[in-house]
């Protein structure tokens, strides 16, 4: 998730250390009710059904989420609706934090009542957490509607919402409509094209490089052509490598063309830039989803599970869509006719064909390549 970094690296180091030294983890908390230990329940049915889950969750009355900005993917509405419906108070820690900070919080606050119950993280972090046994396996009622390549078979983590890498542009300043990555090499776009951030830091910018690789003869196993592509755009003067790409830089003309997630272009840039256009490049469709996971040491295990059930209900899925994020079960909603049609129409049409994702090994290898080569190739 692209979220603002507010603290410098050294500050982060210090903070991490203070946390590490300040709290020695004691015991992990167990279940809350005598009848069912919800911390061990791998589905609502396994714990005694939805009614029992609701009852146990309402008894806990508390849910700790982390790094959910209220203006991100409609989380503000989702949290307040959930709170109202079940009378469960939600504490949202560090709303502007990053996936890495979520993992750190789960590890370091373990055993405390303020530890996160659920997380919403990028896939590499979901997998890292699963490898470190941080997650409690859980399968929501609509588990079978989540594509198999977008979830952990064991139920440790599961994709929640995401979108496609897209090209957004301000037609007032961009006279020729871009349609593809190839078209962005047009000399008319000199000093116009930006990413939201550095691909070594931000998931969205990294995805843009991955998508560019797919458009230029690369593959999930070979991201290098994507780096070369941006190096070329920089050498011809089209690429503006600022790390603060967003609504402001589109508005003030620093980057009238922005390569970003379609849902962020729709939710953050479109409302402030008149006639702003969003296209999914014709020569590459790259989608990525964030993931939900329940902490194995969640202080509110039933509320955590109820939260997941809510997110993967038709209501929860549509609420994400209303925040311009594509929920993972979108095709089910469309097929069943339960989709919010207005919200669905606000996003550019999804490319045909089923979703494909890089494997974890491919993703990790690509991250290292970008980390090693981005500055070397695109700088200079």
């Amino acid at each position: 998730m692209q979220r603002k970094k507010t603290i410098a690296a050294i500050a982060a180091l210090l903070a991490g250390v203070v946390l590490a030294t300040g709290c020695s983890s004691s015991s992990s908390s167990g279940g809350t009710t005598a009848s069912t230990d919800w911390s061990k329940a791998s589905s609502a049915a396994a714990g005694g059904g939805m009614a029992a889950l609701v009852k146990a969750a309402e008894k806990e009355g508390q849910l700790n989420v982390i790094t959910l900005p209220s203006n991100w993917a409609n989380y503000g509405t989702i949290m307040s609706d959930f709170s109202k419906k079940y009378h469960i108070h939600i504490t949202d820690a560090n709303p502007e934090g990053s996936s890495g900070q979520e993992i750190t919080a789960v590890q370091q606050l373990k055993g405390q009542s303020r530890a996160p119950d659920v997380v919403d993280v990028g896939t590499p972090f979901a997998v890292e957490g699963a490898n470190s046994h941080l997650w409690a396996p859980y399968k929501v009622a609509s588990w079978s509607n989540i594509p198999a390549n977008a979830k952990d078979a064991n139920g440790d983590w599961y994709a929640d919402y995401g979108g496609y890498v897209a090209i957004g542009y301000d037609p007032a300043k961009v006279k020729v409509a871009p349609t593809s990555f190839a078209s962005l090499a047009n000399p008319a776009y000199k000093n116009m094209i930006g990413l939201n951030n550095s691909p070594t830091t931000a998931g969205a910018a990294f995805a843009a490089v991955y998508a560019a690789a797919l458009a230029n003869g690369g593959s999930f196993g070979n991201i290098e052509p994507g780096i070369k592509y941006f190096a070329h755009l920089k050498s011809i003067g089209n690429f503006v490598p600022t790390a603060i790409g967003g609504p402001t830089t589109v508005q003030n003309g620093t980057t009238p063309i922005l390569v970003w997630w379609d849902y962020l272009l729709a939710s953050e840039v479109k409302p402030v830039v008149k006639n702003f256009k969003i296209v999914i490049p014709s020569d590459s469709s790259y989608a990525s989803y964030y993931d939900q996971a329940i902490s194995a040491t969640a202080p509110d295990p039933a509320a955590a599970r109820l939260w997941e059930e809510y997110l993967y209900s038709t209501t929860g899925q549509n609420q994400w869509l209303e925040g311009f994020a594509r929920p993972i079960e979108l095709s089910t909603l469309v097929a069943a006719g339960t989709v919010n049609k207005t919200a669905y129409a606000a996003l550019p049409p999804a490319p045909s064909g089923s979703l494909t994702f890089p494997t974890q090994a491919q993703q990790a290898a690509a991250e290292n390549v970008v980390t090693q080569d981005w500055a070397k190739q695109v700088g200079g």
């Binding site: 998730m1 692209q2 979220r3 970094k5 603290i7 410098a8 690296a9 050294i10 982060a12 180091l13 210090l14 991490g16 250390v17 203070v18 590490a20 030294t21 990053s98 996936s99 890495g100 900070q101 993992i103 990028g122 590499p124 972090f125 997998v127 890292e128 490898n131 470190s132 000093n191 990413l195 550095s198 691909p199 070594t200 830091t201 931000a202 998931g203 910018a205 990294f206 920089k234 503006v240 490598p241 600022t242 790390a243 603060i244 790409g245 830089t249 003030n252 003309g253 620093t254 990790a364 991250e367 290292n368 970008v370 980390t371 090693q372 080569d373 981005w374 500055a375 070397k376 700088g379």
Partner: protein
């Protein structure tokens, strides 16, 4: 910088002489130490503990937690080595050039005959500018000097030249160097002024009485006295640039390799997972470099203090 050291010694001598025996000596010593406790705790928690923790984590494997030196071999190869080199070069360049400019400005206001007010304005403004940094600073330059910036527009309107068509750019190492001057020059003015004020007019008059010209005065008197302070200030500027982070990242999006940016990506980012300890290793390398710089600074300050007492 100058007078404070001499003052620190005198009160003790006065009190112990004037009021003998009212408070037993050991207790007095203990009380005196008590005053330092808050600072000691602060240093222990804020500096020593984190440094030790970083040093330990730097030698641990990110996943297994076992002892390893592989973080350092990674940190000293490839893009991380490039990052260290670029960071050092950029910091050295943004110490020397603003150092010289800052010295000239400080000297100008130091010698300005009229205008206490000008002096006050420059010092106050320097205090403000020297503390302006981070993303807001990057954005200030983007808003004024990017392709669509206000000043770029003015230059185009007045001179008919688009500076961006002639090789000017903010989004490179040169751009970062340029932007760093904004806070480095005022910082130099602030830190070198006390040293300039330590140059006593009497020395100059004495030199002139013995027939020395301006050049000879600076070559044999002013220069040697000022030089350790000047170098010390450069080291301070070096440290300031070396640790700067957000501005460079906002301007270049990681297209120039800088160690603090890389640490940020490893510890705080959304892309690289499970390599925190490499970040700690890079952090420790930075700590060592800054420690060397600070030792150099202390030695130079001692030399400078000899003359500026």
């Amino acid at each position: 910088m100058a007078g404070s050291t001499t003052q620190a010694v005198t009160p003790e001598a006065v009190t112990s002489g004037a009021r003998p025996g009212r408070v037993p000596a050991p207790l007095r010593t203990a009380l005196r130490w008590l005053g330092v406790v808050p600072f000691g705790v602060y240093v222990a928690l804020g500096l020593i503990a984190p440094t030790v923790a970083i040093a330990i984590a730097a030698f641990q494997d990110s996943t297994t937690g076992k002892f390893t030196t592989s973080n350092f071999s990674t940190a000293l190869h490839g893009s991380y080595l490039l990052g260290l080199k670029t960071s050092l070069l950029l910091s050295i360049a943004t110490a020397i050039v603003p150092g010289i400019f800052g010295l000239l400005i400080a000297y100008a206001i130091f010698t300005a005959k009229r205008g206490q007010w000008l002096r006050q304005v420059v010092i106050t403004a320097s205090g403000v500018f020297a503390n302006f940094g981070g993303v807001p600073l990057a954005f200030l330059f983007i808003a004024t000097l990017s392709t669509t910036g206000i000043v770029t527009g003015w230059i185009k309107a007045i001179f008919g030249v688009n500076i961006w068509d002639h090789g000017f750019t903010l989004y490179s190492a040169y751009g970062v160097f340029f932007v760093y001057m904004y806070f480095q020059i005022p910082l130099m003015v602030l830190v070198i002024l006390p040293a300039l004020e330590g140059l006593r007019p009497a020395w100059r008059e004495a030199a002139q009485n013995m027939g020395a010209g301006t050049w000879q005065y600076w070559r044999y008197v002013g220069g040697p006295v000022l030089f350790p302070s000047f170098l010390g200030c450069l080291l301070l500027l070096f440290g300031s640039a070396f640790a700067a982070y957000a501005t460079a990242e906002a301007l270049t999006g990681g297209t120039i390799a800088l160690t603090p940016i890389q640490i940020g990506a490893l510890l705080n980012g959304n892309v690289l997972a499970g390599q925190q300890n490499l970040g700690y290793a890079l952090g420790l390398i930075m700590v060592v470099i800054i420690a060397i710089v600070m030792i150099g600074y202390t030695i130079l300050q001692r030399r400078a203090a000899k003359w500026l007492r």
